[in-house]
């Protein structure tokens, strides 16, 4: 008994000693660090960016813009964590490890809208501001995050529908090529379109082509056959699917732009080139370049100021080959 007791006492002293050593080592380290940082003109703000990763032209432009904006020159140290094959789990893992690292702020583009409550609460407990980029969360509880910066999906697809109404005052048959069901982007783009499109426009079919050119081509060639080519309009919810539909139209011996008009959303270079060649008819931009807005939001959040919870990025539309040709040389994405 007494032997174990004395051992415990010894172990306790040893532990305290080790801790004391550790603490001094720690403080020594941190003081050295702070002096170093002070030497290099102000400390860098660490930002964790939980991103979607390579997905298409738009996403690449958006994430590149964010990475370029939060540069070392601007006083940021951005840690970029793209999802593994669009998997939400890998995003949640990245998000929690950013919390554990104690970054100053987190930027999040969620692959799935739901299931973020618990990790966002953890970030709140750790007092780390979270800024949602592009993709929102559902249910949209604004108390869980600082701000949501995105172009207005509903408004953009409504503007596309307005153009379609003006083009076909006597009505037409149309097809919607949507993204994977369940995404907030898809729901919003459907909502804006359905609310605005005229009643004399007849929706033949709404199919998912998973944002993919190849799938859109395959889907639309079958839709054309099922309706004996009697389709006048395609509303493709991204550029890639619109380009796939254009290929299917050409394959069927029709002319995209005259026989079948194609609307796309995003406004990447590839789509604008196709619009300038007359293969697409209307491209609504979904502006990916909002890095500067994100910097402002992060700075004011860190300074403790109140930030608007919903910030809309302005976007433009292109309705003619001329407009596309004009915009192409300065297109960044």
């Amino acid at each position: 008994m007494s032997k174990t007791a004395s051992f415990r006492a010894f172990a306790g002293i040893a532990l305290v000693g080790a801790m004391a050593l550790g603490i001094t080592a720690c403080s020594g380290g941190s003081s050295a660090e702070s002096t170093g940082a002070a030497g290099s003109d102000g400390e860098l703000t660490t930002i964790g960016f939980v991103a979607v990763g390579p997905e298409g032209g738009w996403r690449t432009a958006n994430e590149q813009n964010i990475q370029d904006s939060f540069s070392k020159e601007n006083g940021f140290d951005l840690k970029y964590a793209p999802a593994t094959n669009g998997d939400q789990n890998s995003q949640i893992t990245a998000f929690t490890s950013f919390i554990d690292e104690g970054v100053d702020a987190i930027l999040l583009s969620a692959t799935e809208a739901t299931g973020w409550e618990s990790v966002l609460e953890r970030a709140q407990e750790a007092e780390i501001p979270v800024v949602l980029l592009d993709r929102g969360i559902e249910p949209n509880d604004t108390s869980l995050y600082t701000s949501h910066i995105a172009p207005d999906n509903v408004g953009i697809s409504a503007s596309a529908a307005e153009w379609a109404n003006a083009q076909f005052p006597d009505g037409a048959n149309y097809v919607v090529l949507e993204g994977p069901p369940g995404l907030s982007v898809v729901n919003d783009r459907n909502k804006g379109w359905d609310e605005t499109i005229d009643a004399n426009m007849k929706k033949l079919e709404s199919q998912s082509a998973n944002w993919s050119t190849e799938e859109a081509k395959s889907v639309f060639e079958t839709i054309l056959k099922a309706n004996n080519n009697d389709v006048q309009l395609v509303f493709a919810q991204n550029d890639e699917m619109g380009l796939g539909a254009a290929l299917a139209v050409e394959e069927a011996g029709l002319k995209p732009g005259t026989d079948v008009k194609i609307i796309t959303i995003d406004g990447t270079k590839a789509a604008l080139t196709a619009l300038s060649e007359g293969r697409l008819s209307f491209v609504a931009e979904y502006n990916p370049l909002f890095g500067d807005t994100a910097i402002d939001v992060v700075k004011s959040a860190l300074a403790g100021e109140t930030v608007e919870s919903d910030i809309v990025v302005p976007s433009v539309t292109f309705d003619s080959p001329e407009a596309a040709t004009e915009a192409l040389p300065t297109r960044q994405f």
Binding site: P54, G56, S212, G253
Partner: protein
Amino acid sequence: MSAPTPPRASIPRSGARQFAVSVVRQPYIWAVVALLLLIVINLIKDPGYLGISVNATTGNLSGNVIDILRASAPIMMIAIGMTLVIATRGIDLSVGSVMAVSGAVSMEFMNSSGDGSVGGAILAAAFAIGISAVLGAVNGVLVSIVGLQPFITTLITMLAGRGLAKVITSGQNTSASNEPFRWIANGTVFGFPVVFVIGAVIVAIVAVLIRRTALGLMIESIGINPKAARMAGIRPIGILISVYIVSGILAGIAGIFSTASVMTVEVAKTGLSAEMDAILAVVIGGTSLAGGKFSLTGSVIGALLIATLDKTIVFLAIPSSATPAFKALVIVVICLLQSRRVRALFNQRRAPRTPSAPTAPAPTAPRTTRKETVSA
């Protein structure tokens, strides 16, 4: 039960009848039935579904059947490779990623060389298939020599492969223009889509290599009992490596097919969940995931069925949110009908009616005896 040999086996039959019976007894018979059923459903929606016409502007044959053949070609390729791998008790989850790598290599190559000639297309395809073969070889070596589990090994190549595709194209969807390469997926020879013709030729080559030599038997024996196969003098290492290489090459060809169709590689989308389609085609074709006996014909039919199913969903305008459920439903039904127990149930009920000339004496099996006396 101590029932003697069933009476059906002892009845002599004509050749044609025997053939018909042997076809009906194939495990993939339900896939054929489902295929016909889907076509009938499409015909009900549009009586002209099977019609093939010459397109006035492009001069090519066009029709739903042509589209189905075209869409089935890539699935057929990966399904054939998957069949061989599964027959050795393995699995190849990397086929979809290898498709992406192959597409990325060929597009990037043609994009940077800017070569629109036939030579450029052949070089790009050869390069893509070569890299796919290397990926297959990596799988084969890890499985056979290192002895890793096929599931884990190919899962690693699946993740690494898509990463590799992203590195090759620096994360961008890459397009290229090369008319001969585009022709592979969109052109026709003698009215048939080129992809399907190439696919059919490749299937025929593989079938001859496998079935006209002892290779098929060796693959089956490895799948049934690797130890016994080794005792019998079969070297599993060489066969395993070549099976995975073949699967890699076929996936590479599938990647060329699917990127050539739009002349764009979409690094995150090309070949996505293609391994699932391949495994489904194999299972629908009646090859057991436990290895051993395999059916190449079955897998080809499975690939055709999946392509038809995908096209039918769009043709019938099934809402996109319901498509996965519809696809799953059809496949569950086919798999159920193929399961040994359900088939046994069917056979039991059909057994008394099959002998058309009941000359054989009534067997001792009680159930059959009762029914035969009733019918006689």
